[in-house]
Symmetry: C2
Subunit: 308 residues, 2 copies
Amino acid sequence: MGFRIAVVGSGAIGSYYGAKLAHAGSDVHFLMRGDLSVVRRDGIFVRGEGENFRIAKINCYNSTSDIGPCDLVIVAIKATSNHDLVDLVPPLLHEETMVLTLQNGLGNEEFLAGHFGAQRILGGLCFIAVDRHSKTEVERYAYGQVILGEFGRPAQPRTHGVGAEFTRASVRCTVTDDLALERWRKLIWNIPFNGLSIVAGEIDTAAIVGDKNLRALTLDLMEEVIGAANKCGHPLPKEAWRKHMERSETMSGYKPSTLQDWEAGKPLEIEAIWGEPVRRAAAAGAKMPRTEMIYELLKKLDQVRRSQ
Amino acid sequence: MGFRIAVVGSGAIGSYYGAKLAHAGSDVHFLMRGDLSVVRRDGIFVRGEGENFRIAKINCYNSTSDIGPCDLVIVAIKATSNHDLVDLVPPLLHEETMVLTLQNGLGNEEFLAGHFGAQRILGGLCFIAVDRHSKTEVERYAYGQVILGEFGRPAQPRTHGVGAEFTRASVRCTVTDDLALERWRKLIWNIPFNGLSIVAGEIDTAAIVGDKNLRALTLDLMEEVIGAANKCGHPLPKEAWRKHMERSETMSGYKPSTLQDWEAGKPLEIEAIWGEPVRRAAAAGAKMPRTEMIYELLKKLDQVRRSQ
């Protein structure tokens, strides 16, 4: 029997990377809740620059018990639904099963470690602009690379094994010895752009960097994140904002995932992206006044919206 | 000839205080742009706890040339229309005319002083919850007191004279020797509440103080204002926030003027309430990161809204 992979969460991220792996011949099994008949009939189409393919036969299931034990579980649900994993994951586990979270923000590895054991847990950072148009169609607009790492320890042979699986599927993939550092590095982008895209009036990244005052505010936020990361023991260089800013200035306007969720009326990953960093920074004595303000505004905006 | 008063700007503030003065027998002349026939026919009704009256005969005009020179010009237009005053005010001036701005925020006295001479200028702070329902009806929900002062100098005999005019009209009125200090003191309230009422999702003061996180953010903002005032040479005590917070906790939910403007699609007094304080603080080396963020968010929200 080959290397079995389960994908839990079939939004844009789960569908895209799962389909890529399946397309390369990996043995991928998708958990999909709701009606599966369309996916069973049509498969999944993947579109993007340099790739246009269809997986005709998708192994999809309503229940993880129907999937059974796998070697790798890819977690790609929204962090706001993490509590569902407590029941969803156990049927997928054998003694050596790895659990890889591709979720955003901080705290997901810790959550999984608490429930399923730290030694199983890996994390991946996805740098991708992707949207799922329907259950059977996912489109990648830009990027796609993944950074993989182990939870709380340097890369292991198995980490490189998972990386090789992604690489074989034409996903640009690197392995890091310091996953936590990379998580903070990604927040340099997510904290300002995902946040401002909502609180500044539902605007995309081009509108943010194109306004000189918002660009300055973005920089202030990036500096807060870098300062907090350092206080928390993750030595991001002071200039780490530069690459993020340059990338955003050259890419065409993009709606960050949280704005996409907001527009679709879906739950927002507020705690993973803002709440947990703010709490860790506070515990380490770092000040993040602007990040904290985005955090409070998003919570209230979300609450007001849900009460309407 | 008695003491002639012109009221320039007949929104809620101008209509209310002008009507109060007229009701007490002062010689009040209103500049009102647009159709005057309804006001000429119906007068102005004032409603509020302990007062319900109608001024049957309103002296109202389309042009300040028709009013002519007055002893006191009360400026009550939105600060966003200050440029209109350059043409509106001169016909109202004689050698000794006082110009009293009842506008919000910082910078209005300076603007008037630059155009009409510093020696003419007084400022007043209105602590009032008031709404104009129509051209002929204004309702006071709470408070009403006014603090009067001279621009850039202590109170003069004439300041007390103007105060006496208000007092005679049953407006609680005190005179201050330090108008600039009182302007900053009022900002302790306006900067957080007017701002958060919009950026946190169109909510009233009760929703702000009723949410423990937003209340904490309000306090942070108040401390920024007090710190900036001190750096700018206006010695507000560290505890100056307390009275403002207590007042907001006991008053029933109220929509700050900027939220009223926002909901009505009117221009927002962003520069007077946030922009000018932020600039003065920066020049004095004071940090106001949260205030600055509200400032930037409001500008962008307003811009996005106007472009839709």
